[in-house]
C-alpha cells in the first residue's frame, strides 16, 4: 500500500474527550496512490501510523452514509471523493453542526430523533386487509417521491445548513425530505399528521432557502426542494385549519377520569402532592423556629395542639401510608435488570427491604424523637 509515488499531508482534527479541552489539529504526511479516495488515506493513517485515530465508515461505496466529514471545509462523503482533486495538504474535520464524540466521529442521536419525529412510514386511516391484495402504485406515482427516498442519512446536508447551525432544533433537510417523501406517496394518508410536525417545533419555516443542503447532497435528493414544498403544504394545512377546523371531536379522556374506577387511586396518589408540600413547609417552619430561640420553639409546639394541625397530621399520616404502600408496590419493577455489571436483588427482596426500611426508620426515629434514647 505504501509504495506511493506522491506524498500528501493530512491535517486532521483530533479530539479525545478524556484528555482534550478542545479539538486540536494533527498532521500526518503519508504516501498516497493516484486512485485513492479520501477515506483510503484515513484508513492508511489508522492502520499504519496512528491506531488511535477514530473515524466512521462502512460500505466504501456511498450507500451507508457513515463516512461524511468536512474535507477542506466542505461536507463530503470521504469514500466518494477522489484524493487527486485535492492539493498537497488536505484538511479533514468532523462534520460541522454536530457534537463531536471523538476525533472525526460525530454524535448522530439528535438527527436520529428528528427522523422519527416526521413519522417516516406509511400511515393509513385503516389498514388494508391482506385479502384485498397489494396496494398498487403506478410508475408516475412512484416518480413523485422517488428522488426524496434516495437519502442515505449521511447528514452532509445538516452540516452545510446555516439554519441548523443557529437553530439546532430545526427539523432539518434530510428529515423533512424523508417525511415529505411519505406524504407524497400515493399509498399514504398521513400528510395531515406530518404537516402538524412540520408546523411544530423546529418548523419548516425556519428554513431560509439557502439551498446549501442540495448543493452538498451526494445522492441528489434535493432536500431544499422537499423543505420548500413542505412549507407550502404546511401553509395550506394551517389555512384549512383556520377556515374549517378539522379533526372532529377533540380526544376524550377515558371514562371515569379522574375520580372513579381505575383512576381513583392514581388521582389520590397525585393529590398527596399537596400534603407533602405542606408537610415540607411545616417541617421548615419547625426547624426555623428551633433556630429562633426557645420561646418561638415552644410556640411552635403549642400550635401543633391546635385541632386543625392535629386533623391535618392525621390526614397526612393516612396519605403517607397510602403513598408508601402504592409506591413501594411499584418500585421493584422500576429497577433495571442490571446497572452496569451489578444486578439488583430479586423483586421480592427489594419489596421486603423497602418495608423493612420504612418500618425500621419509623420505629428508630420515633423512639429518638419521643425521648426513648439519647
Amino acid at each position: 500500500m505504501s509504495d506511493g509515488h506522491q506524498k500528501k499531508t493530512f491535517v486532521i482534527t483530533r479530539f479525545d474527550p478524556d484528555q482534550d479541552e478542545a479539538p486540536r489539529k494533527q498532521s500526518y504526511e503519508i504516501p498516497v496512490h493516484p486512485d485513492w479516495k479520501v477515506l483510503d488515506a484515513l484508513n492508511f493513517i489508522k492502520d499504519e501510523i496512528d491506531a488511535t485515530l477514530s473515524h466512521r465508515w462502512s460500505c466504501r461505496m456511498a450507500v451507508c452514509g457513515s463516512c461524511g466529514m468536512m474535507v477542506d471545509g466542505e461536507p463530503r462523503l470521504t469514500c466518494k471523493e477522489a484524493l487527486s482533486q485535492y492539493g498537497d495538504t488536505v484538511d479533514v474535520a468532523p462534520l460541522a453542526n454536530f457534537p463531536v464524540v471523538r476525533d472525526l466521529v460525530i454524535e448522530a442521536d439528535g438527527f436520529m430523533e428528528k427522523l422519527t419525529h416526521v413519522k417516516p412510514w406509511i400511515i393509513r386511516a385503516k389498514e388494508l386487509a391482506v385479502e384485498e391484495g397489494p396496494m398498487r402504485q403506478s410508475p408516475g406515482e412512484l416518480e413523485e417521491f422517488k428522488q426524496f427516498s434516495m437519502c442515505i442519512n449521511c447528514m452532509l446536508c445538516y452540516s452545510a445548513c446555516p439554519v441548523v447551525a443557529n437553530e439546532p432544533e430545526f427539523i432539518g433537510p434530510a428529515a423533512i425530505a424523508l417525511g415529505h417523501r411519505y406524504s407524497l406517496d400515493s399509498r399514504d394518508e398521513g400528510a395531515a399528521e406530518r404537516n402538524k410536525v412540520f408546523r411544530g417545533e423546529g418548523s419548516v419555516f425556519s428554513c431560509s432557502f439557502a439551498n446549501e443542503c442540495s448543493e452538498v447532497c451526494p445522492k441528489h435528493v434535493d432536500p431544499a426542494a422537499a423543505v420548500n414544498q413542505a412549507k407550502l403544504n404546511a401553509v395550506i394545512d394551517w389555512a384549512t385549519d383556520l377556515v374549517l377546523p378539522r379533526g372532529g371531536e377533540p380526544p376524550q379522556l377515558p371514562d371515569h377520569f379522574p375520580f372513579s374506577g381505575r383512576y381513583l387511586a392514581y388521582t389520590l396518589f397525585d393529590l398527596t402532592g399537596i400534603l407533602y408540600l405542606l408537610l415540607g413547609f411545616l417541617v421548615l417552619c419547625a426547624v426555623w423556629s428551633l433556630g429562633s430561640g426557645e420561646a418561638v420553639w415552644n410556640d411552635m409546639l403549642e400550635r401543633h395542639r391546635n385541632i386543625f394541625y392535629l386533623g391535618f397530621h392525621a390526614i397526612a399520616l393516612v396519605g403517607l401510608i397510602f403513598v408508601g404502600i402504592r409506591f413501594f408496590g411499584f418500585f421493584p419493577k422500576a429497577q433495571p435488570p442490571r446497572v452496569g455489571p451489578v444486578k439488583p436483588p430479586p423483586k421480592g427482596v427489594i419489596l421486603v427491604g423497602l418495608y423493612a426500611l420504612w418500618i425500621g426508620v419509623t420505629v428508630c426515629l420515633s423512639i429518638v424523637l419521643a425521648g426513648g434514647v439519647f
Binding site: 377520569f257 379522574p258 388521582t267 396518589f269 397525585d270 393529590l271 398527596t272 402532592g273 399537596i274 400534603l275 407533602y276 408540600l277 405542606l278 408537610l279 415540607g280 413547609f281 417541617v283 421548615l284 419547625a286 426547624v287 426555623w288 428551633l290 433556630g291 430561640g293 426557645e294 420553639w297 415552644n298 409546639l301 401543633h304 395542639r305 394541625y309 392535629l310 391535618f312 397530621h313 392525621a314 397526612a316 399520616l317 403517607l320 401510608i321 403513598v323 408508601g324 409506591f327 418500585f331 423497602l354 426500611l357 420504612w358 426508620v361 419509623t362 420505629v363 428508630c364 426515629l365 420515633s366 429518638v368 424523637l369 419521643a370 425521648g371 439519647f374
Partner: protein, 119 residues
Amino acid sequence: MKHPLLKLEPLIWLLFGQGILLGTVLLTPWVLVVGLAIPLGIVPEDALSYERATMLASHIFGRLILFGLIVLPLWKGVHHMRHTFIDFGGAERDAWVAPLLYLLATIGSVLAVVAVVRI
C-alpha cells in the same frame, strides 16, 4: 420556558422519586411523633424540649435528616401538584404553572439550607 425545564427534568424527577421513597420513610415518624403523639400528650412534651431538640438537631445527622425532611417532600409535592393540575385540564397552562411550582420548591430548598445551618 419549556427548554430549561426539559433540561432540568432528570434532576426534578430524581428529587421527586426520592421525595416519595425517602420522604415517606422520614415523614412517617415525624408525623407520628411531632404531629400527633406529642400534641396529643401520648408522649411527654419535654421529649422535644428546646434543649433536647437543639441537641438532636444540631448533630450532623440531625441536620441532614431535617434537610431531607424539608426538601424531599417539597419536590415530591410540587411535581405531583403539577401532574394533578395537568390531569384536571391545565395542560395548556403548564408552561407557566410548572416553573411557578418548581420555583416554590426551590425557594423552600434554599430556606431549608438556611434553616438547618442556623439551628
